[in-house]
Point group: C2
Chain length 343, copies 2
DNA sequence: GTGAAAGCGCTAACAT
DNA sequence: ATGTTAGCGCTTTCAC
């Protein structure tokens, strides 16, 4: 009933050679005579042999190192903080199978990233997971990496110049389009509608994502509500408090492209009618959602992204499994009534 | 730098006993003297020993059987069809680690379920994954299962009378509440709003879920729009075509509690203003969503539920990992603009 | 080019 | 109660 699992030994006996020879054939190590090669391959095909991956790992019994190249972050940088949590979780999960992580934290600028990435490559890890920063000047660096043939997982930002093995992240432009569709539902088709796109607590490394989100957002409205007035503001965390007041007059909807929507809480208390869409289930945002100041949060799930990034590389290293080249996370829509199911 | 992984042998040497004794302590098999026990435990604690699970699996090297008790289904029963796909996928994934699935398909009635469940228990599987049907008469059956001490995973329907190890599914009442919140957004607060709750293509086994969804849906509207008129209809697949016409007059919103929303396509073509919320990304629904007949689909993700159900039991059997007692899937909101990210 | 043998860490059967 | 040993399936080294 259960299809018998054949072992190297079984194959060897049937092909009348030794285990060693079968192993050389299976793993294409060469040094096998044409004749033996054929005998073994025939049996292999006939019996549909698949190697026992557990035995293989046990025998290997070496640590596999994944270099993790991500920005330095603190607890205020919630996106990376949660992402790092996911990575740490995956580290615990895979640690018992010999997966080791080495961190290379970079400051959010070109030099620092380049330096850390180089250091990561130099130590010859078995794989690299990184959140890259895209600079023209780094192209040669990326091709250096390829030469070493180290599998690279990209997280957060796909860079097509890199020959990566897998990308984990989201489609930011689509995210903006979705936000627009939701906003349209929320504010209806009143001709007096006026919308604000707010990049709050802006980091340079996020700029490209935020831009993509805004682009998608505006594209949707251009297609469906061509005349609509949409303004954009961009403030660092500190500037928000000083500057937003003026921007908020007559606004009917705000699309905050970062996870810092909660910075607006005081204003939103005073303008309860404004519809607000933001990002990420960080505690402060969740409170605002429950209080009704924020209408919808889009969930980027950085924690799961971190976990998935490590897990795919780990599975690949341990079991040589194929992993999808792109892992685009769904863009989850979170409202009060399904909030609980995402926590 | 890397914390060394200690082996049984290491512990044995340090505690000055044999591997066998350490093994007995670690696995609590008894037959160890107080003195040896203590010596070993001290070392164990000091070195923070964790057994090598890969070696353990290799040694065990036996097939672990999971009995799968789910309804008979064909390609028209899309929910179970997709669920079965997820189960099959998990079977492939875990097959190489010695996890074997045995299926017990039941007809959707009490006798058949009882019979299949009994058969499943009789074969003494290492675990059972089942989509139970809840009948008072089956209580004794469930307690039989407990006596055998077989871990049970429940999928789709949680039954508190069963002492299950894990449940994979959704909170149907919350799902209804969410649908209501979305519907409220879609139709606005026009006093002429009239809503229809439609249970289409009804199966007996689904009745309890559908009821829960409707309950949540109505509860939300009771809280937020007390006077609103909400009707309910319940049709088998065949009845839909004959009967819906009359029900649709003056309706502003329809909430279809099953994955059969697409049955309404002809009507919706004629009534483009009606807002529609349904379930599941089955191809026919997706088409209707793209065409604008359906506004929102709630994604129950049966495929992932199937996969998760098997995977948690498999991980538990292989690696003795703890698994969460309840795995409530998020209730995903799918609209045209984020559809792609769920496919 | 091939085969024999050791050994990864753990478990279970068997001696003592 | 404790120690010893064989062996799970694979890889790798070392003779031949």
């Amino acid at each position: 009933m259960t299809p018998k699992k054949y072992t190297l030994q079984d194959i060897a006996e049937l092909a009348q050679v030794s285990r060693g020879t079968v192993d050389r054939v299976v793993n294409k190590r060469g040094k096998v005579s044409k004749k033996a090669q054929k005998k073994v391959e025939d049996v292999l095909k006939r019996l549909d042999y698949t190697p026992n991956l557990i035995a293989r790992s046990l025998k290997r019994n070496q640590n596999l190192v994944i270099a993790v190249v991500i920005p330095i972050h603190n607890e205020h940088d919630i996106y990376w903080h949660q992402c790092a949590q996911g990575i740490a979780e995956a580290e615990r999960k895979w640690g018992q199978f010999g997966i080791i992580l080495k961190y290379f934290h970079y400051h959010k600028n070109q030099e620092s990233f380049a330096s850390m990435f180089s250091q990561a490559i130099e130590m010859d890890p078995n794989a690299i997971l990184m959140a890259p920063i895209h600079y023209e000047e780094l192209k040669t660096l990326f091709s250096d990496a390829e030469a070493k043939d180290i599998p690279i997982g990209l997280i957060n930002t796909p860079i097509e110049e890199i020959d990566y093995m897998t990308f984990v992240g989201q489609d930011y432009q689509k995210s903006g389009r979705l936000a627009a569709q939701l906003m349209a539902n929320l504010i209806g088709s009143d001709p007096h509608n006026k919308i604000l796109v707010a990049h709050l607590g802006v980091d340079t490394d996020h700029a490209v994502h935020l831009h993509a989100k805004e682009k998608g957002f505006r594209a949707y409205f251009d297609e469906h509500f061509p005349g609509l007035k949409i303004d954009t503001v961009s403030y660092s965390s500190d500037d928000v408090v000083e500057n937003m007041d003026a921007d908020l007059s007559n606004i009917t909807g705000i699309y905050v492209t970062t996870s810092k929507t909660h910075l607006l809480s005081d204003y939103l208390d005073k303008h309860p009618k404004i519809k607000v869409i933001g990002y990420d289930l960080v505690p402060k945002n969740v409170v605002q959602l429950q209080q009704g100041n924020i209408n919808i949060l889009l969930n980027q799930n950085p924690k799961l992204q971190g976990d998935t990034g490590i897990s795919s590389l780990a599975e690949h290293l341990l079991y040589n499994t194929d992993i999808p080249q792109k892992r685009l996370f769904p863009i989850d829509i979170v409202m009060t009534e399904n909030l609980e199911s995402y926590c």
